[in-house]
Symmetry: C2
DNA sequence: ACTTCATCTTGACATTGTAAAGATATCATG
DNA sequence: CATGATATCTTTACAATGTCAAGATGAAGT
């Protein structure tokens, strides 16, 4: 199935991966369904055989990026013997994922289709669910007082997610020290009082 | 200058305020320059006498929201006698502004035109600059070790900004307890270790 | 070889952003 | 008050975009 054939072969994957490329290069505003189709060498209506529309296409790209993000998060658990160590590394991996892919941040979190389930043990937006589950595990191990669970989860996640936000808004690509700063900030408590 | 006259009278302000309304109602994706113009009772090209284009118009709306945001932040200083108290209240006001205006968050921070100046004493994105300046003041008062300034600012801002993000992603309008939770989270340290 | 079906193309249309040219009212100046 | 300059708005036009419908193509199975 070469590039001159009538049928593309794997247009769905091609659209998603080309979409990720073009988001990383020119951002979102200059990316249209038709340009993406052209970049894949198909006509402007071809994507409609694989996606119900533009929203569906971009949601698929979002899911694909989220999948990679989830993989990076889960790597933190594998490489850690203790749970508390895993939480630290998951925080690092969380932020550093966006240090290495700055454009992904606003794309992932500005589409207003993400729901953070605060109450349950699982469900909701997967990266948050993973983080939450790991903290629950740590809470159980250390017999952390249950009335503080939600507050502690909120604090930790907000801090980590906020750091990712800061990184992308202060020139992630221009600051090379992030890889040293982030673990420092997560390991030590630099809050006043 | 009534609504039937050829000249609107204050189209620029009308576009900005109507734009804020429509963002709060239907979000961004359903808002076009032409719809906004129609909602203001003018032709679709009328806005071009006040804005250079769509980007300029939306930047003006963004600036207007930011102005209101800055006012809310500065109120924290007036109502506080001590600097540390002001910092606490500014954090509260920061997050609660988005509890009360959930749609503003993604609109403000997803336009990729915000730059956080980490190094200087002022300049850059104003809400961040205000927060940073207040912390510098507190550092000076308490003779806080200078090598920790940047790390402490990063931690505090990331936490506060992350909380605002969490709030908007977990249904700001459905959870009425935020106004009690946020001050609690900011006043007490619920981080592990 | 024939049929079936997924995939792709072509053509069309409404919406949108933008620019140019002209219409209208406001305002300063005499 | 008259007049011309200027700001503001309308009309018209065009290219880009998202979407749909109808038809073309070829792959896979019978």
């Amino acid at each position: 199935m070469n590039e001159t054939s009538y049928h593309h072969g794997d247009l769905r994957t091609a659209m998603i991966e080309k979409g990720m490329e073009m988001i990383n290069e020119g951002g979102l505003k200059n990316l249209s369904l038709r340009k993406l189709a052209a970049a894949c060498g198909v006509s402007h209506a071809a994507p409609y055989s694989h996606f119900s529309g533009k929203d569906d296409l971009f949601a698929a790209i979002q899911n694909h990026i989220t999948d990679k993000f989830v993989i990076v998060l889960n790597e933190a658990i594998k490489n850690s013997s203790e749970t508390s160590d895993g939480l630290f590394h998951m925080g690092c991996n969380y932020v550093l994922f966006f240090v290495r892919n700055p454009k992904y941040f606003s794309f992932l979190f500005s589409r207003a289709n993400i729901y953070l389930d605060l109450t349950g043990e699982s469900g909701g937006y997967e990266p948050f669910a993973i983080y939450k589950k790991l903290m629950h595990q740590l809470f159980a191990e250390t017999q952390y007082p249950e009335e503080l669970w939600l507050k502690t989860i909120l604090s930790h996640w907000a801090f980590v997610h906020g750091l990712a936000s800061v990184v992308t808004m202060s020139g992630a690509d221009t600051i090379k020290e992030w890889e040293d700063i982030i673990p420092d900030l997560l390991a030590n408590n630099y809050f006043l009082q």
